[in-house]
């Protein structure tokens, strides 16, 4: 009957759409990266430059570093741009990635309410600041998502000799969310602190009563690295285009472009590939 014929036509058209999107453009690579690089607006600035200079369309999937490493392990990305040195070295050692290149850095900052109920501002170190926060029982909101930021935060608590999950009370909350969502929650809570990467913090538009309280501790150094997903493990990895992208990002021109990304006169990432 007529209506069934119509349905068949629709079905056919839909499959053509499916087929079409599979074959669209081959000159692209998939980059698994962190929420901080996306939420800060870095990619919106940087990727058009990459496209212009190398002709490669870089498609970014922004997730936490833990998930990005997992995507790489499964072969669902060609290149990773992540920030967890310990996890990255392990990833390379296990043979999932090759050609790790440190490419840029910034730092983490401790942010909290302007009135600073735990008096964390001016602490001599990030570890001391966390001890004060734990002691005051003001709130702390953790990413809780195994991201690079989360992994750093857990190392700081360890160094401070505090197990925040076990210490009782509900002052320590694990959000299980990206950097932006955690900043939104921190801003809304009124008396909580969190650790953020500087780029997301600077680009964040909903600061309300939040202020930057602690920075400059060497422990808060935040290194970003490129890793090529091992083409021997995953033959479909677009090695040629991926290397082209990595080479350009670590070139003089690519490094200058990183320094050129600024918000309110401040560079959000500092290039350091050429210092090695």
């Amino acid at each position: 009957m007529k209506q069934i014929d119509n349905l068949a036509v629709c079905l056919g058209m839909a499959f053509m759409v499916l087929a079409g999107s599979v074959q669209a453009g081959e000159n692209f690579i998939t980059l698994a990266s962190t929420t901080s690089t996306q939420a800060s607006g870095f990619f919106d600035y940087y990727l058009p430059l990459v496209q212009r200079r190398t002709g490669i369309d870089v498609r970014v999937v922004a997730v936490g570093t833990g998930q990005a490493l997992k995507l790489g392990e499964n072969g669902d990305a060609d290149v990773l741009l992540v920030h967890d040195r310990v996890g990255e070295l392990q990833f390379v050692e296990q043979g999932f990635g090759v050609d790790r290149r440190e490419v840029m850095y910034n730092d983490f900052v401790l942010v909290g309410p302007k009135r600073d109920p735990a008096r964390a501002a001016g602490s001599e170190s990030a570890v001391a600041a966390l001890q004060k926060i734990a002691g005051s029982k003001a709130g702390f909101i953790s990413r809780g998502d195994d991201s690079g930021t989360n992994r750093l935060e857990r190392r700081l608590w360890q160094e401070a000799g505090i197990d925040p999950g076990a210490s009782g009370g509900n002052w320590y909350r694990e959000a299980g969310a990206g950097m932006g969502a955690v900043l939104n929650m921190t801003a809304a809570s009124g008396n909580a602190y969190t650790i953020a990467d500087r780029a997301t913090w600077l680009a964040f538009r909903n600061k309300t009563e939040l202020a930057l309280l602690v920075q400059g501790d060497a422990r808060l150094f935040n290194q970003y690295s490129l890793i090529l997903v091992n083409p021997e493990k995953h033959p479909h990895v677009k090695k040629q285009q991926a290397l082209l992208f990595m080479d350009w990002m670590t070139s003089v021109e690519g490094q200058r472009a990183i320094a050129g990304f600024q918000t309110a006169g401040q560079a959000l990432f500092k290039p350091n590939a050429l210092q090695q």
Binding site: Q3, L11, A14, A39, R59, R205
Partner: protein
């Protein structure tokens, strides 16, 4: 920041292309499956109905995870390279919407069966003809079912975020860009995009309602 002209149009187009395709494909399968379940009696039918009704409430993020595991390079369909494409999002939304459409169609066709069964049998219709006839007789209600399916498809974020990746210019849709802008703290932009999504849904529903009223006036 979002370039509110070109990017927005592009994002709306991707959203519509993905959700409309997924809904149409889900309707093809859901209408047939629902009608078969309403008209035929066969072993396992009851279990299938229970399963469908349960799947109507399936959380999108679970569907997203399942489709990710399926399409990942490490998964059974990895070699197709569909992950982080519109196709992946269509598959995920199709999985979300099909049970909804099938379950609602089953109820509608079962009700129609009560009214039409004897008359159609008297006219000499076989079951397969009955299925086609009842789907066409229920077309106004089924249009509403399709809209409900479309609503579920275009409004969900969990599944498309996982399998689409929210890649700018490729798999960025209304809901994932709202999530992204929210995470940047751009609450006003996020809210404005939410409004656009609502307006879009209203327009589509209004168009459907008008055509339904018009057709109902014509054919009762």
């Amino acid at each position: 920041m979002l370039d509110l002209d070109e990017s927005l149009v592009e994002i709306i187009l991707v959203s519509l292309r993905v959700s409309v395709t997924a809904t149409v494909l889900a309707a093809v399968v859901g209408f047939l499956l629902g009608a078969v379940l309403a008209i035929w009696r066969f072993p396992g039918r009851g279990a299938l109905l229970v399963l469908l009704n349960a799947m109507m409430g399936l959380p999108p993020v679970v569907v997203g995870l399942l489709v990710y595991l399926l399409l990942s390079r490490a998964g059974p369909m990895g070699s197709l390279g569909l992950l982080f494409t519109e196709s992946a999002m269509i598959i995920a939304q199709w999985l979300l919407v099909t049970p909804l459409i099938a379950a609602l169609t089953q109820q509608i066709v079962a009700d129609l069966m009560l009214e039409y069964r004897e008359q159609l049998y008297s006219l000499g219709a076989k079951r397969w003809t009955m299925l086609q006839t009842l789907l066409w007789e229920g077309r106004y209600s089924l249009l509403t079912v399709m809209l409900a399916g479309f609503g579920r498809a275009i409004s969900e974020v969990g599944a498309v975020l996982i399998v689409g990746g929210n890649i700018a210019h490729h798999t960025r849709v209304m809901t994932t860009v709202i999530a992204l802008e929210t995470s940047k703290g751009n609450l006003t932009i996020a809210l404005a995009l939410g409004m656009i999504l609502i307006a879009l849904a209203c327009m589509i529903n209004a168009a459907a309602a008008f055509s339904k009223i018009y057709a109902a006036r014509l054919y009762g």
